[in-house]
């Protein structure tokens, strides 16, 4: 990337904007080490008691493992479904292709509350409420459009002459797909997977409709917790979530390079 000389007013503006965006996130860190009973800033004294409380809260722990499992399943399924779908959308010419693509990515534009209600109504009749299967299906509705869009862009910008070269060298279509197209798509797949994982792990609105006492995800459990009592336990949980998110981003950065993966 080019390095521009930035003027001082511009730097200050950027700094203020970043501060505005990150301030709530940054505040969470000191609050999580608060020793107070309630959410308050600045804390009157420091302690790690809320981290201890968090790890002793079995509800939170089971919600966390549910979320982790759910996000992993959703991510894998999203990629497995979206890669061939994106391939068809970008490599096969057929009538109504653009329409279909827009239809598939439409859930991105719908208010999630509408989606949540619709899913609730449909899933209720299939007995999918408060089940892992139901959550997986619901989250796929949200993550698939992201995956499809990222992978379609990646496939469109990919040098297609490599596929042609493989074909002239004697590779059958399926061989071309697995030995050339998919390996060249890895950065796109990593980006899509990271996004799907984070979106699923983070999903509240739709999930709220589908969870219950039997099964709950971490964001929903946090939401319920704050609803009942406002103590710094949620701050401790937030810090761990932020670190997890950073961890995912770091893995992407280490393996692929962020700009290569997300910026086209």
């Amino acid at each position: 990337m080019e390095i521009h000389k930035t003027s001082w007013p511009m730097r200050i503006l950027v700094f203020v904007l970043f501060l505005y965006l990150l301030a709530p996130v940054l505040l969470v860190f000191p609050i999580s080490f608060s020793g107070d009973q309630v959410l308050r800033f600045p804390p009157t004294f420091w302690s790690t008691r809320w981290y201890v409380a968090l790890f002793e809260n079995s509800k939170m722990l089971s919600a966390f493992s549910t979320s982790l499992l759910l996000a992993s399943i959703v991510t894998i399924l999203s990629i497995v479904i979206a890669v061939p779908a994106a391939w068809v959308m970008t490599r096969v010419k057929f009538r109504g292709r653009d329409l279909l693509f827009n239809l598939f990515t439409a859930p991105l534009l719908l208010p999630t509350i509408v989606l949540g209600l619709a899913i609730l109504i449909v899933f209720a009749s299939f007995g999918l409420l408060a089940t892992m299967r139901g959550l997986v299906f619901a989250h796929l509705v949200v993550t698939l459009p992201y995956a499809l869009r990222i992978l379609a862009v990646a496939l469109n910008t990919q040098d297609q002459t490599c596929e042609e070269a493989a074909r002239t060298l004697g590779a059958k279509p399926l061989t071309v797909f697995f030995r050339v197209t998919v390996p060249m798509l890895i950065p796109g797949i990593v980006a899509a997977a990271a996004l799907c994982f984070l979106v699923s792990f983070d999903e509240v609105v739709i999930t709220l409709f589908l969870t219950g006492p039997r099964i709950s995800t971490l964001p929903v459990e946090l939401y319920n917790y704050v609803y009942n009592q406002a103590d710094p336990l949620v701050a401790a949980a937030s810090v761990l979530l932020i670190l997890l998110t950073l961890g995912v981003i770091m893995i992407v950065e280490r393996t692929m390079g962020l700009s290569k993966t997300f910026v086209k």
Partner: protein
């Protein structure tokens, strides 16, 4: 020294046509390439040369017509069964495989035994002098090296035809000269039939046994480089291949050719009407008009030097003759006093070098 060239017909295009939507890119094309020969498709961009190459490769299917290789109809054969080695303009190396894996790819698709894959890929890399870079990834190679890997990858499968799509256009001038010689040498060593798409006349003329000059999806001329250059079939070919002066002329009802306000002699058969008269700049000799006015069976035109451009080994004179400007190229020489702007000169060229074509209105 063409080693294995024969008159045996190898690749044959029979009434090939293709349309993209409403655009009829190639109306109907017939072509026959001999075994072991290297043929260039030469033409401006959009003339259909790459489209034709891609139809031979199978990357697109012709709307009608037949393609045969060694008598076998391959028109409807899928790409992966065609046995073509193709070198792409962008090289199209697999970025996620190292050089060796790139070269081995085609062999792995052909159920060649493991030892043979190792041996043949090694030989192919030696052939293009890249044995020492076998473990590199494509992006760690220079343009010329990538080009050679692409060539090795295409040749290692011993294809029935080698297809080259503007393989040199992404290289700098010096490397291009080198690769030209190398590709030609490899092609002749292996005796492989090759089709070479280019818009560069130097590549076409210097590398290939025969040249197809194309325009608007049609073949303007198919012949040896010498034929193309010395006896261009149309004004377009003469203009596209080599530099040329183009004079508006007229053939009278008596068969007399007139251009630049003077009667001229040509060896072409002429029919009355407006014509284009083409003369290569370096086929014209310049003499100061004060010198001896020798007459022969050639053409002599009087003119005045209007500008001089020095290009090192060449000097370009622009001479005003009548209402035409004629460019003359001379090798830089010392035995004659240099001409200056405004000098009156005699332009002299033989009747053989006067190319006359009916005016095509372009």
């Amino acid at each position: 020294m063409p080693v294995s060239q024969s008159l045996e017909e190898h690749l044959k295009l029979d009434g090939i046509s293709i349309s993209f939507g409403p655009v009829n890119v190639i109306p109907s094309l017939d072509l026959s390439v001999r075994k072991g020969e290297m043929v260039a498709f030469l033409g401006p961009s959009g003339c259909g040369k790459t489209t034709t190459l891609r139809m031979i490769a199978g990357l697109i299917s012709p709307s009608s017509g037949r393609i045969t290789v060694g008598g076998r109809d391959i028109t409807r054969l899928p790409i992966h069964d065609r046995d073509m080695g193709m070198v792409f303009q962008s090289y199209a190396l697999f970025p996620h495989m190292d050089v060796t894996r790139n070269v081995q790819f085609g062999l792995q698709m052909r159920n060649v035994s493991k030892q043979d894959i190792e041996r043949r890929s090694k030989e192919a890399l030696e052939l293009v002098q890249l044995g020492h870079l076998a473990q590199r990834k494509p992006k760690e190679l220079s343009g010329g090296q990538q080009q050679r890997v692409a060539l090795a990858r295409a040749l290692v499968i011993q294809p029935s035809i080698l297809l080259l799509d503007e393989p040199l256009s992404n290289l700098d001038a010096k490397l291009r000269d080198e690769m030209r010689l190398q590709i030609r040498a490899l092609q002749q060593q292996s005796g492989i039939t090759a089709v070479f798409v280019t818009h560069d006349q130097v590549e076409a003329l210097s590398m290939c046994d025969r040249v197809v000059v194309m325009r608007n999806g049609r073949i303007e001329q198919f012949g040896t480089p010498t034929e193309i250059y010395e006896r261009p079939a149309t004004a377009f070919v003469a203009n596209f291949v080599g530099r040329t002066n183009r004079l508006k002329g007229k053939v009278g009802s008596d068969g007399q050719l007139v251009a630049a306000g003077q009667p001229l002699r040509a060896t072409t058969k002429l029919s009355p009407g407006p014509v284009d008269v083409l003369i290569r700049p370096h086929r014209i000799a310049l003499q100061p008009s004060s010198g001896p006015a020798t007459t022969g069976d050639g053409n002599v035109v009087e003119g005045k030097v209007s500008s001089i451009i020095f290009i090192g080994d060449l000097v370009q004179y622009v001479v005003r003759a009548g209402d035409e400007e004629i460019v003359v190229e001379e090798a830089t020489r010392r035995e004659r006093a240099p001409l200056g702007v405004g000098d009156n000169v005699h332009l002299r060229w033989s009747a053989d070098d006067t190319l006359v074509y009916p005016d095509d209105g372009k």
